[in-house]
């Protein structure tokens, strides 16, 4: 694996989605723009190191938080002497502690993600890279986990351990470029396991097409652990509207045997206007169901069509939805 230059350019790449032989994740102006963004956190969360995020802990910063009576063992330096002069009692002056956050990026690398025009996995990797960079630039910790097959410990471990600092951006990008698709989507066990194993809940960004019945169970597991979940529901344009798919032709009709790239399951359809119309209605209904599910659990749900430019997603959509600032 080749590391890129420190300015964020990645000369080489290891992500090799089937239909994108050569890519560069980001160019420099784009990264500069990214530095102006920050990942929003609605709640204050405890971190590990000094950072820029408000922590629930009291500590040393310039921002006053509270007073509390002195107890033996407290640091004398934090006693508010002005208060002692007035009240002749010791009070400690408490300040808001600012710590770092751990931003969790979960990328679905099942076979179904390596599909579509533009490719969904590639899109997810780029989005994850961008958001990861935003977090790194904001002195937050970033961890990436790829779930799905294709990423074995031997090759790509599928796990990018929490790291801090902009200097880690190249490593992050390299990791994301090295992601390979494979295996089946099984959201429920993976997400449940991740929720169980996470030590520091924080903002969690899930990049997946959710094409699995286990999505509700998995998302519920994440929510229960206290993550601030943002679901980026990534679909290819052909999935959003099969009428746009090249294989249906202009007439948008045809007798087809659809084969699932993950499971190999086959389904015979006779595509015609009504069927496609119903497909679209069905998809809309499902996404509405997803949105309602997420809203009920204080999750962000962002439906992403891979034909949307990444910049638009980052600078418009996610800011609009309060994921980024």
């Amino acid at each position: 694996m080749q590391t890129g230059r420190s300015d964020g350019w990645l000369d080489d790449r290891t992500i090799q989605p089937s239909n994108h032989p050569t890519i560069q994740l980001f160019d420099e102006p784009f990264l500069r723009k990214l530095e102006r963004l920050a990942i929003l956190s609605r709640r204050a969360m405890a971190g590990q190191l000094q950072g820029e995020r408000r922590s629930p802990k009291r500590g040393q910063s310039v921002e006053f938080a509270d007073f509390r009576p002195y107890a033996p063992g407290d640091d004398f330096r934090r006693i508010d002497w002005n208060a002692y002069a007035r009240l002749e009692r010791f009070f400690l002056k408490l300040f808001v502690e600012e710590e770092d956050l751990t931003v969790h990026l979960l990328v679905d690398t099942s076979r179904s993600m390596d599909w579509g025009e533009p490719n969904k996995l590639w899109y997810a990797a780029r989005a994850a890279g961008a958001l990861g960079y935003v977090a790194l630039a904001g002195l937050d910790r970033v961890t990436v986990t790829a779930f799905g097959g294709g990423n074995t410990p031997g090759g790509n471990p599928g796990y990018f351990a929490p790291r801090r600092g902009k200097g880690q951006a190249t490593a992050l990008f390299a990791f994301l470029q090295g992601l390979a698709a494979g295996g089946r989507t099984s959201l429920a066990p993976h997400l449940a396991a991740y929720a169980a194993a996470a030590t520091q809940p924080g903002p969690l960004l899930l990049f997946s097409d959710l094409l699995d019945d286990g999505w509700s169970e998995g998302l519920r597991a994440l929510a229960s652990r206290g993550f601030e979940v943002t679901v980026l529901h990534i679909l290819a344009p052909e999935e959003v509207d099969p009428g746009r798919a090249r294989w249906l032709g202009d007439a948008q009709t045809g007798d087809l045997k659809l084969r699932d790239v993950e499971t190999g399951a086959e389904l015979e359809i006779t595509a015609d206007y009504e069927l496609l119309q119903r497909y679209r209605q069905n998809l809309a209904a499902w996404q509405e169901e997803l949105r309602r599910f997420c809203n009920a659990r204080a999750m962000h749900f962002v439906s992403v069509d891979t034909s949307i430019p990444l910049e638009e997603l980052l600078f418009a959509w996610l800011r609009q939805r309060g994921v980024l600032k």
């Binding site: 084969r259 790239v261 119903r278």
Partner: protein, 656 residues
């Protein structure tokens, strides 16, 4: 009732399984890899809820195709049903418009009933059927020929009027046969009462049917009416014959009017199919028009009235310029209706040269006969001229010499001047030799050994009639021949006519009439019985009048400067329907028409095949279009959706 003209087309039904088979073959699906069938499966789950409908809908194309094929095959089999009326791809309707079709036994009359039937039949014909309408009266007339324009056909039918003539079906059938020969599947229908004249045998091409119109034959008619001066008395005598064409004895009252005044009434009882004659005597002597009427009602009112006219025969004045020609004077004196004044040639010139003529010739006579003489010092008198052996040339002909022993020969025995002439016995010693002038027609030619020269020629020039006889009466045996008085009668008849316009007393309806007028008459006015007026301009003393379809008395008048006091000369003639064929209105149930296909026609004769593949073809076309729409519905819906989006967007933009 439906049968098929081309049932072999049903063999095409074998194509239906072919379509089904092709449909099954077509369902080999193309394989397409998708990211997941997760979404599709979710949808198919709802789809399977209404599976039966879904299956039907999915095969909608197949069903439409099979229906289309079925409709097409059915149309190709050319189904038809038997209908009343006329089938075929073309129809020729022959409408009898003879007088007998005016019979009122059908309401309002037979012809109107036939017209109504014809209109209905035409409306029920296939759209592209060509219709020909022929009326048969005295002659056949094609009103509409092979027309597909129904409006035109209806208009033509509405314009058919009853005539007063006979019905000559032969000509109409010949016309119809000629038209039917060039368009296949033609039905010819004769709408008539069967009182027609028909050739004994008539080769006819086509499908011929006869549709009789008429119920009753009860009719009495005045079949003869004549008016003559009573012999030896001062009054007039009328002879009337009334015929009963009905099957029962009829009682009718015959009323006679003399110039509008009732003069005589006779009650008649006429046995079935018999005649009764009435002689009415002592009618007023000055009767000009006698009208006979049968009072009461019968089937055909047209023949219940008749008219007779009495012509005042005023003798025509003839001037004979001749030196003692006994033959000529005797011959002329014997002719009726002329008044001969004989004058010597010497007196003639003196008379004519004087400004104020006195003596025998007070005014120019209609006919002047020059016998072996041509005036030298004076011009030829006005009026018609007859030269006999002219010694000199005149303005109209040139005398070049004499002709010895010519053999006379009639050029045209149909010539009115050559009527009844027999010249075989005639020998001529010497005649005047004259070349035939350009205005004249040759009546008698004289053949000599080396030449042919005219012996009698006649013609009309400068508004007058001129005849020139080259034979010297004294140098031939013509005056001794039977032909001589006949020739004189013919010549004076032609040259001195015009007093009464040569009118016959009775004219059959529709017959053309040639009015013979004095050369001076510039225009003739004919007043028809209904008061309408026709103005004719005579050409060289003759005028043709053909519009004699109305029954009644026609008045003919002209201004003649020759006539006394310059008054209008008036005469008249009567048109009567004295036609047993038309008066006999008994409908004929079957015509001894032709030995063509009509013989085989049984009671089904009124049935015709009506094909109805047209609506089937239309259904097939609609199905084809529906199939196309269903096949392309995705594109169509998308187009429609795009359009409505654009419209909505425009509306929103307009609002803001």
């Amino acid at each position: 009732m439906t049968s098929f003209l081309a049932p072999t087309a049903f063999a095409l039904a074998l194509l239906i399984p072919v379509i089904v088979a092709m449909y099954l073959l077509k369902l080999r699906r193309t394989e397409q890899v998708v990211s997941s069938v997760y979404l599709w499966r979710r949808m198919v789950r709802d789809v399977e809820a209404n599976a039966p409908w879904q299956r039907l809908r999915r095969n909608l194309l197949l069903i439409l195709q099979i229906l289309f094929l079925a409709a097409l095959i059915l149309a190709l089999a050319r189904p038809f049903r038997w209908v009343q009326g006329v089938g075929g791809r073309a129809a020729i309707l022959i409408l009898d418009t003879s007088a007998s079709m005016a019979a009122t036994d059908l309401s309002p009359n037979r012809l109107e009933a036939a017209k109504t039937w014809a209109s209905q039949v035409i409306d029920s014909l296939p759209d592209d059927a060509r219709v020909t309408i022929i009326t048969a009266s005295d002659s056949a007339q094609v009103l509409v020929s092979s027309s597909q324009d129904r409006r035109q056909v209806h208009q033509a039918i509405n314009q058919v009027r009853i005539g007063t003539g006979g019905s000559d079906l032969t000509a109409a059938l010949e016309l119809a046969s000629a038209i039917a020969a060039r368009q296949p599947e033609t039905d010819v229908v004769v709408l008539s009462d069967g009182q027609v004249t028909l050739a004994q045998r008539l080769a006819f091409k086509g499908h011929l049917r006869y549709l009789p119109f008429g119920l009753s034959g009860d009719n009495q008619a005045i079949s003869t009416l004549s008016l003559e001066p009573s012999p030896g008395e001062s009054g007039m005598t009328a002879f009337v014959q009334v015929t009963n064409y009905g099957d029962a004895t009829a009682q009718r009252r015959l009323v006679l009017y003399s110039d509008g005044q009732l003069v005589s009434v006779h009650d008649l009882e006429i046995a079935a199919v018999a005649q009764q004659a009435v002689v009415a005597e002592a009618l007023p002597a000055d009767t000009h028009v006698l009208e006979a009427q049968l009072a009461g009602q019968d089937t055909l009112p047209l023949d219940d009235r008749a008219w007779a006219v009495h012509h005042d025969t005023r003798p025509a004045a003839v001037t004979l310029v001749s030196e003692e020609n006994l033959f000529l004077e005797t011959g002329l004196a014997l002719l009726p209706n002329i008044d001969v004044t004989t004058i010597r040639p010497s007196d003639f010139e003196v008379n004519l040269s004087q400004r104020d003529p006195v003596g025998p010739i007070s005014q120019p006579s209609p006919l002047t006969i020059f016998d072996a003489y041509v005036p030298i010092t004076t011009a030829l008198p006005a009026g018609n001229l007859l030269f006999i052996a002219p010694p000199r040339s005149t303005d109209y002909f040139t005398v070049t010499g004499t002709l010895d022993l010519p053999a006379p020969r009639l050029v045209d025995s149909e010539d009115p001047l050559a009527n009844y002439l027999d010249l075989s016995e005639l020998s001529i010693l010497e005649a005047v030799h004259m070349p035939l002038p350009p205005w004249a027609r040759l009546v008698i030619a004289g053949d000599t050994s080396d030449d042919t020269s005219p012996l009698l020629f006649a013609g009309e020039v400068d508004g007058r009639r001129i005849a020139v006889l080259a034979v010297d009466l004294h140098r031939s045996d013509l005056p001794l021949q039977v032909a001589f008085p006949l020739l004189l009668a013919n010549l004076t008849g032609w040259l001195a006519s015009g007093g009464g316009a040569d009118l016959p007393d009775q004219v059959p309806p529709g017959a053309p009439l040639s009015l013979s007028l004095p050369p001076e008459a510039e225009s003739v006015i004919v007043t028809r019985p209904d008061g309408s007026i026709t103005r004719l301009t005579p050409q060289a003393g003759r005028a043709a009048f053909t519009d004699t379809a109305q029954l009644g008395v026609y008045r003919v008048s002209w201004q003649s400067p020759v006539s006394p006091a310059g008054n209008a000369v008036e005469t008249s003639f009567a048109v009567n329907l004295f036609s047993p064929q038309e008066s006999n209105v008994q409908p004929v149930e079957s015509l001894p028409l032709l030995e063509s296909e009509t013989a085989e026609e049984g009671p089904d004769a009124q049935l015709a095949r009506r094909e109805w593949w047209r609506p089937l073809a239309l259904i097939a076309l609609i199905l084809l279009m529906a199939e196309w729409l269903v096949y392309h519905r995705a594109v169509l819906f998308r187009l429609w959706g795009d359009t409505s989006q654009v419209i909505t967007a425009n509306m929103v933009r307009n609002k803001t």
